[in-house]
Subunit: 141 residues, 2 copies
DNA sequence: TTAACTGCAAAAGTTTTGCAGGTCG
DNA sequence: CGACCTGCAAAACTTTTGCAGTTAA
């Protein structure tokens, strides 16, 4: 399940098919997002080190998101949080007090999603849902 | 269900009890949020007109949120969206394509919320949930 | 070779902060 | 009257953009 650094991964071909180029910066940004789980552009920039300019991080994230390789949500206050799209779908549980982020399987959403599709014709993107509230630890305080 | 502009509303007493003051700016900001449903700080600033400085809008929103009178989420890309906390709980359905925001009753979340509380001890804040996806109109295109 | 990409720096946009004067209580 | 608030302007941040040099293909 590790990410092969081989030559012919599907997304690389997709990327080139669209006329884009495969650069080391883009690979490093994608890898950093994978390592961090979910992270802000700034955190990603730190992860990749000083070899990649912050502007490039932003531009890479935009491209990678357009390719469907990463996604972003707004987990806490200001900054967007990016994560790899390929990983198993899950729901984020963000604690308002301690800022911890728990996860639960997205299969819990199935009934809800089905109902919404049925009533509104709206297809929910299950890949990245964030729910806010208070975690068990903070509730006991 | 209208908002009385009477003298002794509960939140006003709460506010004073905490040592804060009831100013016309704060009343106008709260009223604007109610009128707009959900709005960014800038939109709120326009709604209240030029009688209230943008800085004051930010400071008022922070205070009102601290009092539990308004809440904020991130519906679309950059800016936070504020809404009154007292209104009926509902789930936002944000279309990624046309940016429309639909709503469905929060009672649909009950089973999900119950399961999460059971498994993780995490109490979800049902008041303001946003789900992203594609609306019926955009799906048919 | 050449069109795309990166780094740098400046610009644009958003949110916060310091302070002098105004006002609620 | 006194502490809290507001408006204004500047500061601090975040994200975007223009350009010249660099590089993947």
């Amino acid at each position: 399940m590790g990410k092969q650094t081989g030559t012919g991964e599907a997304w690389q071909q997709e990327l080139r098919a669209r006329g884009y180029r495969l650069t080391p910066q883009r690979q490093r940004v994608l890898e950093a997002v994978g390592v961090l789980g979910h992270a802000t552009p700034e955190a990603i920039s730190e992860q990749v080190g000083d070899g990649v300019n912050l502007s490039t991080v932003y531009r890479s994230l935009e491209l990678l998101e357009d390719l469907g390789l990463v996604r972003h949500t707004h987990l806490n206050h200001g900054s967007p949080s990016y994560s790899v799209a390929g990983s198993a779908d899950h729901v984020h549980l963000v604690c308002r007090d301690c800022e911890a982020v728990l996860e639960v399987g997205a299969e819990l959403l199935q009934p809800l999603v089905a109902t919404i599709a049925d009533e509104q014709g709206f297809s929910v993107d299950v890949g990245h849902v964030a729910l806010f509230g208070r975690c068990a630890a903070c509730a006991n305080r």
